[in-house]
Symmetry: C2
Subunit: 390 residues, 2 copies
C-alpha cells in the first residue's frame, strides 16, 4: 500500500443554485481542483463521484460517465465510477479513490461529490432522502430523517440528560463558523432562542436543528505521496480510512444513542493512521441534525458517551475549543448537498492543515472527516495529516 | 497486486418475479454463492453491489447497507458499497471487488448485482432506463434506448451491409441457448421470421431484437488465488479487468458503429491477462439489442469491424462455433435485470470453465465477460481462466 496525498481541492458555493445545472456544478468544482493541482484533464487516470440520488432529483443515472464526458476531459476513456451510500456517498468516493491510489491501480485520481436538490419541491426532497432509510420498515410507515433523528435525540436526553439548549448550541456554533466561510449557504449568526423557537419539525428537533436542502459540488485530486510535490507545495496526506455498516433500520439496534458504524469506521481509521482520538486537532463531522454532532463527537472518541451535550455547551468544539468541530459551518450552516458533503469535509480540513482557512483558521496538523449515510447504515472516517509519517 | 479467484457463484431465476422483493432476490443469490464457497456471513470482509436504479424502481437508495443488514451477515459492520454505471453496474461491482482483493485491502469479498424492475409499468421502466442516456441531450428529446440502438443498427447496415436477418440470427441463437438454461426468462426457441414479424419498436429493431424487463440477482465470492483451494476444488481466476468511458451521448462520437469504451476496456483486460482475442474460448457479451452483440464481437476483436453480422449468420458464435457467445441466452433470452447482468455473465463463464454448464456446456479454459452501460458511456471487460499463470 502506497501513501496517498491530496494535492488539489475545489468546491462550489453551497446553496439554492438556481442558475446552475448538476453537470455545471461538478464542472465548477472539478476545474478548481485541477487548477489547484496544476494539472489538465489528460493527466487524470481515474475518476470517482459520490452521488445519492440524481436519478430521482434530476432523472439522470450513469452520472460518472456523464461527468467524465461533460468535463471535456481529454482522456475521456478513463474508468469513471459512481458510488452511492446515501449521505455518505462523498466520503465513499474519497475512500475508493484512496484505495485506487494506495493499491497502485492508478496514480492521479479525481474524487468528487455532487447533488442538485432544489429542482424538486422541498416535500419531494424529503421523500427522496427518506430512500436512505429502510423503505419497507421505516419510510413506508411515514418515518423521515427528522423523525428518526428525533428518536435518537429523545433517547439521548432521557439516558444522559442532554438538553435542548445543548443541541441548539451546535447550531449556534456552526452558524457562527459559517459567517467566516464565503461558500456557506447560511452566513449569519443565530442565538439559542432562535433555534428553540423556530418551527418544530419532529419533536424535539426544530427547523434550526436541521441541515438544509442544498445544491453543490466538491472535488479533490489524489496522487501517490512520493509524487505529491510535483503538484503542490502543500500536500496533505490521507493517513487513515475506515468504512463500516450497521442495520439500515434504527429499531434493529441495541442502542440508538451510538452509531456502531461510526465507532468501527473511526477505529479502522485510527488504527491505520496509528493515532488516538486525542491527536485530532480539527474535525468535520456529520451534523445532519444537531443531535447527530453530539452523538458523533462521542462515537469518534473525542469524549465519553453521554458527555457530548455538556462539552458542546462548554465550548469544547468551538473554533478556539479543545477540538474545533465543523469550522466550515457543518452540514447545518455550510449546507448539505448530500453527495458532495463527504468531499467538502476533506476540502475544509485540507484548508486548515495548509493554513488557508482565513478567519476561521485553527491550528491543525491532523484532522478528521466523518460522513454518515442515513441514520448510520454507513459511516466513513478519514484522517488527514500535514506529515506522511506519523 | 495479488491474483484473484472466483470461489463461489449464485444466481436467481430471471424473469417477472412477482413473489420476490428486491432484498429477497439478493438474499437468494447471495446465499447460493456463500454455500457454493462453503463460507458463512462472518467470513466476509467486504461487499460490493451493482444496482442501477432501485431509487426509482422501488424507492430505495443506500442498498449496500440494506443488503448487508438484511442478509443477516454476522459481520454486519463490514464496508458495504453500491456502485452504479447504468446497465454496467454489475460488471463494475465485480471490478471493484477484484481491485479490493488484488490490492490486499480485503481477502474474502462478495460482489453482487440486483434489479427489481417489474414493480413499475413497462412504460415507466423504459423511462427509468432512459436515465442511463444523457438526460439533457437525448432523453429530453424523446430518445429511448431502442431508439439509440436503432440508430447504430441503421448505420451499421448502411456502412457494412449488415442485414435484418443477420441481426435476427443473434436473437434466434440466444433463444436456443436459453432453452438449455433453467434460470432463463425465455426458455423457448424462435425463428428468424418470428423476429422480423414481431412488433416494431424502433425501426429496424423489433420486440424480439430487444432484451426484456427482468427481475433478478446474482453474486460471486472472490478470494486471493493463494487461498482459493480453501473454498473450492474448482477456482476460476480473474486474469484481466478493464473499464473505460466514452461520451454519454451517441451524437458526440466520431463513429457510432464502434463502442470506443468496449475497445479500450477489452484492450486493458487483454493486456493485464497477457492474451489475445483469439485465446477466448467462450464469451458473454452485452446484447441489450441484437445489433449490440454484432458490434460487441467486432469491438472485442473476435472479428474485423463490419464482419459481425455475416459471421453470426454463418454460426461463428453458436455453441459449436468458433467462439460461442452468450451461452446463457444473453440479455435477450436469459433476461436483463440491469444491475445483475454483469455478475450473471461471470457466473455463466465460471460454469463453463468448471464444466458445470449442462446441455449448453462448451469446451472452455478462458472466457470473457463484456458489460455495457447505456449506449457505451461505460464498458467493463473481464477475462476469466482455469489457470492462474497464463
Amino acid at each position: 500500500m502506497r501513501d496517498v496525498a491530496i494535492v488539489g481541492t475545489g468546491c462550489t458555493s453551497f446553496g439554492e443554485m438556481w442558475e446552475s445545472s448538476f453537470r455545471g456544478l461538478f464542472l465548477d468544482a472539478g476545474i478548481q481542483a485541477l487548477e489547484d493541482a496544476d494539472i489538465e484533464g489528460k493527466d487524470i487516470d481515474e475518476f470517482y463521484v459520490g452521488n445519492m440520488s440524481a436519478g430521482r432529483f434530476i432523472g439522470q443515472e450513469h452520472v460518472a460517465s456523464l461527468i467524465a464526458d461533460y468535463s471535456g476531459l481529454a482522456n475521456i476513456n478513463i474508468p469513471s465510477t459512481r458510488v452511492e451510500a446515501a449521505c455518505a456517498s462523498g466520503g465513499l468516493a474519497l475512500r475508493q479513490g484512496f484505495i485506487s491510489v494506495a493499491s497502485g491501480i492508478s496514480d492521479v485520481v479525481v474524487v468528487g461529490g455532487v447533488e442538485k436538490m432544489t429542482d424538486v419541491s422541498s416535500e419531494r426532497s424529503v421523500e427522496i432522502l427518506a430512500a436512505a432509510s429502510d423503505r419497507e420498515w421505516e419510510a413506508f410507515y411515514g418515518a423521515t430523517f427528522p423523525g428518526l433523528y428525533a428518536m435518537i435525540a429523545n433517547r439521548h436526553m432521557y439516558e444522559y440528560g442532554t438538553t435542548r439548549e445543548q443541541m441548539a448550541k451546535v447550531s449556534v456554533k456552526n452558524h457562527l463558523n459559517a459567517t467566516m466561510n464565503d461558500k456557506a449557504q447560511f452566513q449569519r449568526e443565530i442565538e439559542v432562542d432562535d433555534v428553540l423557537n423556530s418551527t418544530m419539525i419532529a419533536d424535539p428537533l426544530t427547523l434550526f436543528d436541521s441541515s438544509p436542502i442544498t445544491d453543490g459540488a466538491s472535488a479533490l485530486v489524489l496522487a501517490p505521496a512520493e509524487m505529491a510535490h510535483e503538484f503542490t507545495d502543500k500536500p496533505v496526506y490521507i493517513t487513515g480510512s475506515g468504512q463500516a455498516s450497521d442495520t439500515l433500520s434504527l429499531h434493529d439496534r441495541d442502542d440508538i444513542c451510538t452509531l456502531e458504524s461510526t465507532v468501527k469506521a473511526a477505529n479502522s481509521a485510527y488504527n491505520m493512521a496509528g493515532i488516538e482520538p486525542s491527536d485530532i486537532d480539527v474535525a468535520e463531522v456529520h451534523d445532519c441534525f444537531t443531535i447527530a454532532e453530539i452523538v458523533a463527537i462521542e462515537d469518534l472518541g473525542f469524549c465519553k458517551k453521554g458527555k457530548g451535550g455538556k462539552l458542546t455547551e462548554e465550548g469544547f468544539t468551538e473554533l478556539n475549543g479543545e477540538i474545533p468541530v465543523n469550522p466550515s459551518g457543518g452540514l447545518k450552516a455550510c449546507g448539505h448537498p448530500v453527495g458532495a458533503t463527504g468531499i467538502k469535509q476533506a476540502v475544509e480540513i485540507v484548508k486548515h492543515i495548509r493554513g488557508e482557512a482565513g478567519d476561521r483558521q485553527v491550528d491543525a496538523d491532523i484532522g478528521l472527516c466523518h460522513n454518515v449515510g442515513g441514520s448510520g447504515g454507513t459511516a466513513i472516517v478519514h484522517t488527514l495529516s500535514k506529515e506522511v509519517d506519523l
